[in-house]
Amino acid sequence: MWKTIVRRFLIMIPQLFVLSVIIFVLAKFMPGDPFTGLISPQTDPARIAELTEKAGLNDPWHIQYMRWIGNAFQGDLGLSYTYKRDVADLIGERALNTFWLSLLSVFILYLIAIPLGILAGRYQNSRLDKTIVLYSFVTYAIPTFVLGLIFLFLFGYKLEWFPTSGSVDIKYEAGTLRYYWDKFYHILLPSFTYAVLGTTGIIQYLRSEIIDAKTMDYVRTARSKGIPMRKVYSKHIFRNSLLPIAAFLGFTITGLLGGSIFVETIFGYPGMGQLFVSSISSRDYSVITALVMLFGFLALLGSLLSDIIMSIVDPRIRIE
């Protein structure tokens, strides 16, 4: 098992390498550069040229790439052109925000999806099932931002139940309980929005898993032994059906990371997704590349995590 994990990590290296080359080259192909935004009648074009040269942006891309990857290996992801800060610091700050948001989203997501999936599967083709299936289709079809905006205006502004932007109110002292509660309070609505929209996959999966399980021999055996259906569900079917869901955890998290772009933008939440969109417009190469690499790495990590959980919960699968 450890050997496999180490090997999976080794396989990541070429993947990340290819990704780094692709994103680096693409980023360079984007029209404009971080200094295009600095022009004004007062700026001296010579100064811009000097800055561009100093930043090494005039070198051929492979030279720039080698320099970048070399530094990256030493843990130096460069300086954000926009924020004039160390990229690692900048992302670190945002990553934590995105992390909490994703974590709460996953939690709420499971909280909603699992009961619904189980009910739909158990009472297959009932009115309840049909309603749940309809719900899952509808949430799948609604664009994230439409629901996000509606929630924001309804719960945030009209009802004033939730804060409407940011990650924490400035009036609370960092470190106090009130402060953490406020942070939690800020991510509640975005997480909920996100969770509501992300349930489709899990509901559908659980539903068909349970429908399948009903026809399985072990369930029939249990039934024929006279065990009440309720017990069969709680003792056999749910457990077997839920395990794969647990195993999807890794994938779910990485999926949520991708969607964070929308949620963070709508709710003005300073996370990585929002940082990415703004970096695109400001041509902040170092941030763009670092973020794509980070997301790529997290996705790989997520799939590894899923595989590991899967092999733990399901003895039939051994990652060897």
Binding site: L19, F29, P143, F295
Partner: protein, 302 residues
């Protein structure tokens, strides 16, 4: 799964392959909702194409009329006008046509490519399979939305074609993966072995022997992909990476709901398009569900 189909195949229907049209037909007959969805889809899609083709002068439609900015639904504009004073109904029709074409194009491109790659990998195995599986693994792990956005900023001329290609670049892997696993198990079956010993060449084996046996799975997969692709440009439009104004699309219409005023007061500029997307996706999904049941005997109703 496929095996089961064959076993439970409709023995009463002489002269038909076991997972043939009858099964699908019977499935639809059993599921009124799916039947209704199917009919609705066909009518709507045909209607849109015909209407957009015959009834709408696109130049006229796209003509900005400032005085009609956000005109309310009424006599002049059945569903009101958008912020450029352009008729919403016309835009929905043309936008739906464009979005459908985009969805169809992406579904077909990714479908054809994914199926081809999946078949080749599943059938031949070996290094070619390894190579493509590595590539697919790679595509699955990269942050797709991010790269799509980067691509969109990079393309010199952002047109419908460019959009379709960029999306297709990222969306073929799911199909390829699915088809590969099915093709792999199919290739191990004796009839494929038999064909090899009977002198049939690989290309014919893949296309004539294996492909027909995967057809039901592929149809289901493509249907669901199609549903996913209908609203594909909505999110990007919202993020500011949507199609240019000269190409009305459902996504652009829905994305106009990005401020409270439009969202609440000028609901007619985005809500119909959003509902249209919703209904299309629901319809396609219900059809897809029925198809899926037809392909999977365990869930079959009829």
């Amino acid at each position: 799964m496929a095996k089961k189909n064959k076993k439970t195949g409709n023995n009463n229907y002489v002269n038909s392959p076991p997972t043939g049209l009858q099964v699908i037909f019977r499935e639809f007959m059993k599921d009124k909702l799916a039947m209704f969805s199917l009919i609705l889809l066909v009518v709507v899609i045909l209607g849109i194409f015909v209407w957009a083709w015959l009834g709408i002068d696109q130049q006229q439609l796209l003509r900005v009329s400032l005085r009609d900015k956000f005109a309310e639904p009424g006599e002049k504009f059945l569903l009101g006008a958008d912020q450029g004073g352009k008729d919403i109904v016309g835009q929905i029709i043309v936008g739906a046509r464009n979005s459908m074409l985009i969805a169809i194009a992406i579904t077909l491109i990714t479908g054809v490519f994914g199926v081809a790659v999946g078949l080749i990998c599943g059938y031949f195995g070996g290094w070619i399979d390894n190579l493509f599986m590595r590539i697919i693994d790679f595509f699955i792990t990269i942050p797709q939305l991010m790269l799509i956005i980067v691509f969109i900023t990079v393309v010199p001329k952002y047109t419908v074609g460019a959009f379709i290609l960029i999306m297709s670049l990222f969306l073929w892997t799911g199909t390829a993966r699915l088809v590969r696993s099915k093709a792999l198990s199919e290739s191990r079956r004796d009839y494929v072995q038999a064909s090899k010993t009977l002198g049939t060449n690989d290309f014919v084996i893949i296309t004539r022997e294996i492909l027909p046996n995967l057809s039901s799975i592929i149809i289901v997969e493509m249907t669901l992909n199609f549903a996913g692709n209908v609203g594909i440009e909505t999110g990007l439009s919202y993020l500011g990476f949507g199609l240019p104004q000269s190409t009305p699309s459902l996504g652009t219409l829905v994305a106009s709901a990005n401020n409270p005023l439009v969202l609440q007061q000028y609901w007619w500029s985005w809500l119909p398009a959003a509902l249209f997307i919703l209904l299309m996706m629901l319809g396609i999904n219900y059809v897809g569900q029925a198809l899926r049941r037809a392909a999977d005997s365990r869930q079959r109703l009829g």
